[in-house]
């Protein structure tokens, strides 16, 4: 192997850190442009939504437990429950559904 593992690791870590650190240190003034401001305001919710769906459906052993996790998490979040409660609720329902469906799937 002509390229070393540590060379790869250096490139991976270096590039990733640069991507994160440059905007955080260079864009320090308040952005005035209304389009960019709106864009940045939308980014978190749009990104988190795109990452959750449809990925949650295939994140578990079968699509039923994934769907159950999605529904329970939505239900708990709409009811105003906090991060930990929603996350644990989703995990618990996956565990239970997979326990039930194990026999006949």
């Amino acid at each position: 192997m002509d390229r070393s593992l540590y060379g790869y690791m250096l490139v991976m870590a270096g590039v990733t850190y640069l991507i994160r650190v440059l905007p955080l240190t260079l864009i320090r003034k308040e952005i005035k442009n209304p389009f960019i401001r709106s864009f940045l305001n939308y980014v978190p919710y749009v990104t988190l939504s795109a990452m959750t769906f449809p990925a949650i459906l295939t994140a578990t052993g079968n699509v039923y437990s994934g769907l159950a996790a999605l529904l329970i998490a939505l239900f708990l979040a709409v009811r105003g429950k906090g991060l930990i409660t929603v996350a644990i609720g989703a995990c618990a329902v996956v565990f239970i559904v997979e326990l039930i469906t194990k026999g006949f799937l």
Binding site: V11, Y45, G61
Partner: protein, 233 residues
Amino acid sequence: MNSREFREGLKDGIPICLGYLAVSFAFGIQALKAGIGVFDATLISLTNVTSAGQFAGLGVIASSGSYGEMAMVQSIINLRYALMSAAVSQKLTGVSIPKRLLMAHGMTDEIFGISIARKQLSPFYTYGAMLISIFGWVFGTFLGASAGQILPERLINALGVALYGMFIAIVVPVAKQNRKILISSLLACALSAVCAVTPVLKDISGGLRIILVTVLVAGGAAALFPFSAETEG
């Protein structure tokens, strides 16, 4: 004040830590399969703290790709962090450069998610979340790489949705209050689902898909329905 923020970050980081344990456990197993030892796999997790980026990196290493290819793959998959960093930077008026340098290392989807949800963001909140989350990420990698099958598969499956549950808990309260956020979030889900099942589109990497959906939906929404968090928050 700082220690209170730090403790809150630690607390909110617990579900992130659980989710990371599961995902990085899988990464550890995968790294072992790619011929990377326990120490090196753990070191990769500590120095990168990315999920999609690290998995893709394993692929480049396994196929003996060039350093240029590695740099390209990492840039594309992790580009979303630049958007997130830019968004977080807007909440850090008066925060010093060294603090920003430290925060940058923890700019993951999840830590970003809980940080940006703060009305007022203190770097110490993010440090708290980083400490427990990165611990989970690194420790999970170590466990996965060293012990393979410590946990039963069903438990790994269950822990895997902790992250998604958390994302939902972040988006829903805001979407309930704000119709623009609600519609753009639903649109993002729909577009992401379309990308996941459409031929050709479904072959693009998960990281690239997120960028595509984010730029299209957030860009379109910002152009058509401009809004500022301050006046409509």
